[in-house]
């Protein structure tokens, strides 16, 4: 077998795969944040908590009602997305006329409430969620061993990201959405119900987070804190990418996951901070972010 810079290829590809998995979650979550930010102009701080809710609802469906993983993939985003719709109608919609920071503070408070409630009910030790039978085991690719479920997560994430990009950039509904992002008053004057569109957009962003949660449930243990630290890394991803473009959010997410995986091979101690270091460099060189537009 060949070696690269004295690193055994198994370790290299293993970490790259892990990076790609993390990247899948960064991409899904930053995509949701970008979609919500585009129309609502708020940063959804409860995104991490809603991702955690997704994993928990999947676990509850399996444990209490026996509904399996595949149905959970469909049901969970709808259920959690609906909770997002309620939150938007009852609370967030009251803040649009105020400074955007209030949206951040409100959703931070919501995140504390959601996490606290789940911690009370389920503790912090984490609950197991087994990999669905169809995806257990792995495939030998010759140069490395690929666990099937992990391959599926990357595939599913790419498909969902592409579908979202397609829906926003290439469909009629997406065109309305982009128009409302530019000028909500004018779009409203054309007879489109902008407030309802805003509500559904928030619900959709939350549903994306919940879907990421279901995908994550078999990989990471299901626990109330799973979203809290992740969301801060995703914020850094968002700052690096800039929230100007959907494609930008996706590419930055996957790219940074891979960079993180590579760092884990070359300099393991630096892997937890590498994204923040990249953020510092991007702020120095291109403050608006790699794909961002200067306001």
């Amino acid at each position: 077998m060949f070696e690269l810079l004295g690193i055994p290829p198994q370790a290299l590809f293993g970490q790259l795969l892990l990076g790609l998995i993390n990247g899948s979650f960064y991409a899904l979550l930053s995509l949701g944040l970008a979609v919500i930010f585009g129309l609502l102009n708020i940063i959804n701080f409860s995104h991490g908590a809603q991702y955690m809710m997704g994993a928990f609802v999947a676990w509850m469906l399996l444990t209490y009602t026996g509904i399996n993983y595949w149905w959970a993939l469909l049901i969970v985003p709808i259920v959690v997305g609906a909770s997002g719709v309620v939150i938007e109608r009852l609370m967030i919609s009251r803040l649009y006329h105020l400074d955007h920071l209030y949206g951040l503070l409100l959703t931070f408070g919501l995140a504390l409430i959601i996490q606290g409630l789940f911690r009370n009910q389920y503790g912090v030790s984490g609950l197991p969620y087994s990999i669905p039978a169809e995806l257990s085991g792995g495939t030998n690719l010759g140069f490395m061993f690929l666990p099937n479920y992990r391959g599926w997560v990357v595939f599913a994430s790419v498909v969902v990201c592409f579908a979202t990009w397609f829906a926003i950039e290439k469909t009629r509904l997406g065109a309305y959405l982009r128009a409302a992002t530019e000028n909500p008053t004018l779009v409203g004057a054309f007879g489109i119900n902008v407030p309802r569109m805003i509500t559904l957009t928030y619900g959709f962003g939350v549903a994306l987070a919940a879907l990421a949660g279901v995908l994550a449930a078999p990989i990471y243990s299901v626990n109330p804190n799973m979203g809290a630290d992740l969301i801060i890394v995703v914020f850094a991803v968002v700052v690096i990418g800039g929230m100007g473009s959907i494609l930008g959010a996706i590419l930055t997410g996957f790219g940074l996951g891979i960079v993180e995986g590579l760092t884990r091979v070359i300099y393991p101690e630096g892997s937890s901070v590498v994204i923040f270091v990249i953020m510092a460099i991007v702020l120095l060189v291109k403050p608006a972010g790699l794909f961002g537009r200067t306001q």
Partner: protein, 326 residues
């Protein structure tokens, strides 16, 4: 589109005059009087905790309420100062005043580093950038050899102030902490009411206009960021000496959130609001300590209620009622 001044945010601060209104002098005097007799009624360690967090929240308020910059990463300064002070007092056996000074220095340097980068973005991006850098500081604190990882730095000696006054007694220490915090609060008051503070408020209310008037806006923002970081560091370092402990809790994002909550609840952009907010939240944490995660839930509820129902905060509501700026 709304201009920043129309958004209603930090409106409670708008009317603060340049000079020192008489009722502020009265409130400071009453506050000092109450704090001097308080340890005979209340547990001094609890009071010291309130004082440290009152300073921490006031430091954040200097940046948020008067500079208009929401930092969601102030735990980085609080925590790093706490670690440095604890380490200096324990490993090097420094006197508490030098340990605290070193802690403040560390927070100032860190504030300069993070501030230079963070002020390149505005609004919610600023909040996200500061939060992300604070998380980086947290990860470093988890891994660095001198922080003690999960255990933190425990059993930090309180030592002797100036090598003379033994601080082992909670009562002696209380008056030292009171002097530090009260001095720092007066300093913040002075900064807010100085010409520098007036320019800050102008930038907060209308940044493009301040630029067109010839102010180097970024220098003002950086200066207030570093001041705020240094004062947050003073709070953190003092806390490390009081509790003889520096731990990961001090640098975690939940600490940053807590101090934002104290400022928001008390009243952003008011002089006395953060002190009230800190007292309320610390008291709540003390009484609900046995209820586990319900404290987190309750904090979340207060956050949501503050944002939706009374954005002026407690001091803002009182100020409206008294028709005097607080």
């Amino acid at each position: 589109m709304t201009t920043p001044s129309e958004t209603g945010y930090r409106s409670a601060a708008a009317a603060l005059p340049i000079g020192t209104p008489r009722h502020h002098v009265v409130i400071f005097a009453v506050l000092l009087g109450l704090l001097l007799i308080a340890p005979s009624v209340l547990y001094p360690v609890f009071l010291m905790k309130v004082l440290c967090f009152a300073l921490f929240a006031s430091a954040l308020n200097l940046l948020l309420g008067f500079g208009g910059l929401l930092s969601f990463g102030h735990a980085a300064f609080f925590g790093s100062a706490s670690y440095v002070a604890a380490y200096a007092a324990k490993a090097w056996g420094l006197n508490p005043e030098f340990a605290i000074l070193l802690g403040v220095l560390a927070a100032t340097v860190l504030g300069l580093g993070i501030g230079v980068l963070a002020i390149r973005r505005q609004g919610i991006y600023f909040a996200m950038v500061t939060l992300a850098f604070a998380q980086m500081v947290y990860f470093i604190a988890v891994q660095a050899p001198f922080t003690g990882g999960e255990d933190g730095i425990q059993a930090v000696p309180r030592g002797k102030l100036f090598g003379l006054i033994d601080l082992t007694s909670d009562y002696t220490l209380y008056f030292v902490v009171l002097a530090i915090v009260f001095g720092a609060l007066l300093l913040i008051y002075r900064i807010i009411h100085s010409p520098f503070g007036q320019v800050l408020k102008a930038i907060r209310d209308n940044e493009p206009r301040s630029i067109s008037l010839g102010y180097k806006v970024n220098r003002y923002k950086l200066a207030v960021f570093v001041m705020s970081a240094a004062l947050a560091g003073l709070a953190g370092a003092t806390k490390a000496i009081v509790f003889q402990l520096a731990s990961l809790t001090d640098v975690y994002w939940s600490m940053s959130g807590e101090v934002v909550l104290m400022t928001l609840l008390g009243g952003m952009g008011t002089v006395f609001g953060p002190i009230i907010g800190a007292a309320v939240i610390v008291t709540m944490q003390n009484y609900f300590a046995g209820f586990g995660a319900w404290v987190t839930v309750l904090q979340g509820v207060i956050f949501v209620a503050s944002v939706l129902l009374f954005r002026e905060g407690i001091a803002g509501v009182l100020a409206k009622w008294l028709k005097k700026p607080l």
